[in-house]
């Protein structure tokens, strides 16, 4: 069985427990072992790099160190913010190798601890990689009837030198996965516009404004579901949706990529944490067919 390191991060232990649940269930369904990094600490999120460059780097480096000590080369990071912080730290340390050695030492070693060897992988990359062999062959329920607006937000795609995304203005990886699983995807203009997550607590008007902008274009493009791969995006678009929509505007279910992939892989809504969304997913689920024949011929 394949094994990959796992860094859930604080959100997935709190409000985004449904995301955590879906990632774990999907991995299990695909016979992949997730090995959680022992004793991990917070990635620092947007606050650390905003106010203290060194703390930002060292928090992320600590997780990389713990992963290496556990013998891991790759770590699956479902949260886009955590992914960004770990990948950015990795990149900074690779560019300044002497710094990497120094920090590894200060974090308690051992002497041959190579922080640059650990690669943070986000769920989009992970599923793109799993699609041909594992996910594609095990998918048993086509996502027919779903018209998905894939919402990438910021940190999965930018800056491209950290995220490894070739075309940050027109990413298509989520579309590729979902199309292969039988869904229809829509083209729309705000797939990479910021949802305002970092102001969720301190300036709510920002997230309401941005949430509405995202909802508007997704609906205009004919989507009946929004697909995300970030707990902050999900919180702003799902939890706050009733706040930014006015009367008469139709609610749009917001699902994690891993939840959609999990449905295709034959998992039930409960296993994927779908019962705990603020925007009801019931109508969406009713459009899906039963678990049956393979979805793809890959």
């Amino acid at each position: 069985m394949d094994t990959i390191g796992y860094f859930p991060g604080c959100s997935l232990q709190g409000s985004a427990f449904d995301y955590d649940r879906s990632v774990r269930a999907l991995a299990q369904q695909l016979s992949i072992v997730l090995r959680e990094i022992p004793d991990w600490v917070c990635c620092g999120a947007s606050s650390a790099h905003a106010v203290d460059r060194e703390v930002a780097l060292c928090l992320a480096a600590d997780t990389l160190a713990k992963a290496r000590r556990a013998g891991l080369d790759e770590v699956l990071v479902p949260c886009a913010m955590c992914f960004q912080r770990l990948a950015a730290a990795s990149q900074e340390l690779t560019e300044h190798r002497s710094l990497a050695g120094e920090i590894a030492g200060a974090l308690g070693g051992p002497a041959d601890l190579d922080l640059t060897r650990v690669k943070a992988v986000n769920p989009v990359e992970w599923l793109v990689r799993l699609l041909p062999g594992t996910l594609g062959t095990r998918a048993r329920r086509p996502l027919t009837g779903l018209r998905v607006a894939c919402y990438y937000g910021c940190l999965l795609v930018r800056p491209p030198k950290v995220t490894r995304v070739e075309e940050p203005e027109a990413p298509r990886q989520m579309e590729g996965i979902l199309k292969a699983l039988g869904a229809t995807t829509v083209r729309w203009g705000r797939a990479t516009e910021c949802c305002g997550a970092s102001f969720s607590l301190s300036r709510k008007s920002v997230v309401l404004r941005q949430g509405l902008r995202i909802w508007e274009l997704a609906v205009e493009a004919g989507a009946n579901v929004l697909c995300v791969a970030c707990p902050m995006c999900h919180a702003n678009l799902d939890m706050r949706q009733s706040e930014f929509l006015s009367e008469g505007q139709e609610a749009l279910p917001v699902l994690y990529l891993t939840q959609l992939a999990g449905l295709a892989a034959g998992l039930g809504p409960e296993q994927l944490g779908l019962g705990d969304h603020f925007v009801s997913v019931d109508r969406l689920l009713s459009t899906l067919g039963p678990v049956g024949r393979p979805v793809t011929d890959t």
Partner: protein
Amino acid sequence: MARIGVFVCHCGENIARTVDCAGVAAASLEMPGVATAVDYRYLCSDPGQALIREAIVKVGLAGVVIASCSPRMHEKTFRRAAEAAGLNPYLCEIANLREQCSWVHTDRDQATRKAIEIVRAHVARARYNAPLVPVRVPLTRRALVVGGGIAGIQAALDIAEGGVEVVLVERSPSLGGHMAQLSETFPTLDCSQCILTPRMVEAGTHGRIRLEAYSEVEKVEGYVGNFQVSIRRKARYVDPNRCTGCGACWQQCPMKKLKSVFDEGLGKRTAIGVPFPQAVPNKPVIDRENCIQFKTKKCGRCQKACPVGAIDFDQQDDLVTEQVGAIVAATGFQVLGKEAFPLYADGDHPDVITGLQFERLASASGPTGGEIRRPSDGEIPRTVVFIQCAGSREPALGRGYCSKICCMYTAKHAMLYKHKYHPGRPIVLCMDVRTGGKGYDEFWRRATEQDGVLYIRSRSARVYPSGGRLVVQAADTLLGGERMELEADLVVLATAMVPQPDARALARKLGIGYDSDGWYSEVHPKLRPVECASAGIFLAGACQGPKDIPETVAQASAAASKVLGLFAARELLREPLVSRVHRAPPPVHSICGGCFACEQVCPYRAIEREEIRDRKGNLIKVVARVNAGLCQGCGTCVAACRAKAIDLEGFTDEQIVAALGALAESNVEPAGAR
């Protein structure tokens, strides 16, 4: 002992500021072989040159060393002065005290010591200078022009009018290039085709122009005055001698919905046809990729329709060789396609078009008959946003240069749109507006003041579709720069001019240089702007860098005059600083062992094989010989020759050893100490 004169130039203050010129002259007098040494304020001036001439005659100098600026600057001047006084010009030697000494040092004592060392080395090698005679090369008085856009047409016509035969090679089926696609031209708004097509016809029918359309340069051999060029005539599948251009074939062609290349994909064409009605030559070509006959063998309708039996599906490419003495590269440019801009509606939205596509929309002969209609649904756009600098001045996208023509053509586009559709609102997003050129700024001001074109000083951050229109994100940086979202029906990108995709490959065939962007390099950006470093090859138009039509035409005429100037001589004289293979009387003949390592390393293909035979014609040995016409004097063969059988005239081993010896002996101590 040689009698050498040393002349130290102050170059005004350029050298004298950091080098004690009188001191250098005094120290020179101590050097072996120096008969006279003086310093002077401006040696390149008339009195300065007279000073040198007088000294040569009066002192009876056998060689001179001019300690002055770089030889690239005034070597010719001083050699001419020496020649005028009866000295072989190659006995005049330049020691560079300016670029290599005074300009790069600040300490006067040290700079002076270094200057003396430089002079010492040159004096040492000057003692071994030999009188040299320029190499004479015969000359073929025919020219090749590569590229049949306005640059190539102009150059070919000017050369032909000068009495010289021209082979004009154009790779597409017709002359005309990009200029044929344009609607109206700035700053006068005259119709592009109206002024171009007479020139096309003239070039196509001129008695001294051999037009090779739908042909490409395959291989170039030889050197200035004597090039052999192979040209591939691509199969048209139409016999041009029979074809009358009547059009019966393309009217019958069932493939009617192919995207027109000439209309930049906005119009339709057939699989057989001419690119546009005024094509020169007016002979169709079959597009093999899209022809049903070629794909399935089940059509041939054009063949049946042709009244003169000109269609020939079995035609093959044809290679011809032409002898020419000079070549003009006029291969032009391309513009970036919108697919290079994912930022602007993912680079694939039908209503985001390039400036060149807008030209086709605005052209009376274009797919909309000159009406501005957006490609998606044929509606007339109420708001058009023009985005300048798309891909130009964007180092992050790999291009730092300005494409130069976009400010002017965007002003023109906005104006044409407004003239054709009065209620329309044209908005231009720009970083700044560059209008250097006669009547250019007045033209732009007319667009804003009379036609009300709105200029917003901003690059766009993103364009995306919404509500059947396009949203253009911008910021008015003159008003503090708050984000604004402009709604537009059509977005026109002034995409960057880029070199032809195969520009580098052709440059390698021609043996000419190009810069990091792929534009062809001139010898000197100011003083020799149309010559290539490879003698006999000249540049015209945008293959050298972004240019507008007036500049292109001016440069083409300049290139033509360079060709005619070259051909005005009876034969070519070349610098004698070339390699020479050792020859000796029998029985040695040459110490060359015939290994031809030199042949392997020579970048100019200048090494030939010479058979040495006895009187009866029996082969004694095969040795290398340098073709002085091709040799550029780089010296690579000298380094490669294991037998030391090759020497470079003017840079013989003797001279180099003498120069190094002089430097080593002096031990770099202060001159006064010796």
